[in-house]
Amino acid sequence: MVELALHIPGIRDITFLENVEGTLDGVYSDIPLDPSQDDFIPLPPVTRLFGIVLKPLLGKNLKFNRVYFGAEFCQCLIPSLEHLTRIKKLCEKKELKFTFVTPYVTDFGIKQLVPIFSYLNSCDENIEVVVNDYGILNLISRDYPRLLPILGRCMNKMERDPRFAKKLPAGMIPGQLRVWQETCLTLPYYKRILGEMGVKRFEFDIVPQGIKTDFSGSGFSASLYYPWTFVTTGRVCETGSLSLEDSKKFRLDVSCAKECREYFAYWVTPPCECNNKCETKSAKSSYIFQVGNTIFMLCEAPADVLRELFSRGFDRVVYEPGLPL
């Protein structure tokens, strides 16, 4: 049975949780994702994907039973303990299980996470924590034995490129495709080391080239994030520099005003340099978004792709109704 989880990166998105029943029962209009139109509304197509892909696919199992809360890509967005407890209480009220999501961090970020881990470790139930940093995994494994670490999608380093969303590169040879479609997480030492540290679940983006990994009978299970595929991230933030004076822009040691909570950018890649004759022209995706320090692509994997993955040990969908930052 496939579990459906709702990802809320921050308190701003609490409406998604408050309206979780509406998400399940909503009517999904077929609004095109076209920024040239005056009524450009980039996020409803995501709920449309929910309606046309997940809803029929999950059928009678269509029910959110878990909430992912927290930021994956920036330690400036680690929630306060107050926000976390507010979301957690709302989850309890709605009888939803709770998973805390963490980003990659410096030592400063670890100091912010420690009180949250201490609180979660003291809760009655064993709580899942998504880790996107081996340091965080090390910390949880050593100091918080009641928490259940999950290896997040930032640790699953399969290549991806939005420009090949619709057509793979011309001339790709079979060996290249095999490498592109596999994760290294199923290699023996990964399984042994991560397993010893308490990891039982790996998380995946749906990459354009497809995923061939089979988790059936492996002792591990896997989650799919849908429909936003993370492409790249870094601590240098264009959006976070919007309000800074020129000499302080793009620095690591200057605090931002969290402009990523207010603005996002839509990317249009340039036309192909070969004057539209090469094979990859049709792969140029226009569905690329920059949110803060991170680039995402909208992955419109159809139902049959998901169904195939469900048959191979992918037993959880982490649905992201909004841009996941």
Binding site: I41, G135, Q176, T233, F264, A265
Partner: protein, 332 residues
């Protein structure tokens, strides 16, 4: 402090001699032979550099260069820092390692913990360095990697000097290497999964049109920004493109020397030394030999200076306007 410089097939034996004379203490390089390329293409590189000119492609050449480096009493590290390898690639990877160990390679740089574990098992005496692309951002991550008996951590690019200081203070007893020149990017090697080889430019270096929108409080809706916001985002984007060193922009104001050297952290060397950094990395795989010579000599000048303050470092860099802009800096 030692200088570790990236080398590749363009380097000649006499270039090694010159680099050593200028101050290079260590060298690092990758290898990817035809046997690998025939099966996986250069795109699925052994070492995150996908062009043949960014590494060595045959055993004879690399052996000659290793021998030359050793003749000066210097060390050479082989880099196998791809994020992902699959099982069928291991026989060839391990063959590379067996042969290179026979050639006397001094260390191996890795990212992938499965490969690291296999190296520990088959070559227990070969010192392992953790690549900057492994993403060691905090003291706990160092502790994670310590379990593998590693000798050195190469810290990622996106750390401040004070963050580096904290990591090293919490974990003494290891060697620490930091980037000091070249190949800086707004995205972090540990968390960048973009392919860099199937198109002329990676996505981040393309001349992408970016259109900013504003979230609206209602669920999932966005609004167009105001003209004032547009001007603000455009100015910010232009500056970001300079920071990102986009060719079309920086060519207009970079000198020939600046094009060779690009980003640097010269003025932070003194602080990095105080923080406990042992080795400075010049990420020069694939650059012209002249670029390597200039970079090594600049770094050596600063390391050797009794007073490597900002004024001195600016004079070494030789383009104060670039320094004042503060967009070509490591560790800022």
């Amino acid at each position: 402090m030692k200088i570790n410089v990236g080398i590749d097939e363009k380097i000649k034996e006499q270039d090694i001699e010159r680099l050593v004379t200028l101050g290079a203490d260590e060298f690092f390089c990758g290898i990817m032979t035809d046997a690998w390329v025939d099966n996986y293409g250069s795109q699925m590189s052994t070492n995150r550099r996908t062009s043949p000119v960014e590494q060595f492609t045959d055993y004879r050449t690399i052996k000659r260069i290793i021998d030359k480096i050793h003749s000066f009493g210097k060390k050479v590290t082989i880099v196998f820092n791809a994020h992902t390898y699959i099982e069928e690639q291991y026989p060839l990877l391990m063959e590379y390692l067996r042969i290179l160990c026979d050639y006397g390679i001094d260390a191996v740089t890795v990212t992938n913990i499965d490969l690291l574990s296999r190296i520990n098992s088959e070559h227990p005496d070969l010192p392992a360095h953790i690549s900057g692309d492994a993403g060691v951002y905090n003291s706990e991550a160092v502790r994670f990697y310590k379990r593998f008996g590693i000798k050195r951590i190469i810290l990622p690019r996106h750390l401040t000097v004070s963050e580096i200081k904290e990591i090293i203070k919490s974990n003494p007893g290891l060697e620490y290497e930091c980037f000091i020149m070249e190949m800086r990017c707004a995205f972090e090697g540990a968390y960048c999964f973009l392919s860099h080889s199937w198109t002329q430019k990676p996505l981040c270096q393309e001349e992408n049109k970016k259109m900013y929108y504003k979230y609206l409080p209602s669920l999932g809706r966005a609004a167009r920004i105001t003209p004032a916001e547009h001007l603000k985002t455009e100015d910010n984007k232009n500056r970001y493109d300079v920071w990102c060193h986009k060719d079309s922009i920086v060519q207009t104001f970079m000198s020939v020397k600046d094009r060779y050297v690009q980003q640097c952290g010269l003025c932070q060397i003194a602080e990095l030394r105080k923080a406990g950094v042992n080795v400075l990395k010049i990420a020069a795989r694939g650059t012209e030999p002249d670029s390597k010579f200039i970079s090594v000599s600049m770094v050596k000048k600063v390391i050797s200076s009794p007073l490597p303050d900002e004024k001195f470092c600016k004079s070494v860099r030789g383009n104060p306007e670039i320094c004042d802009l503060k967009y070509m800096c490591y560790y800022r």
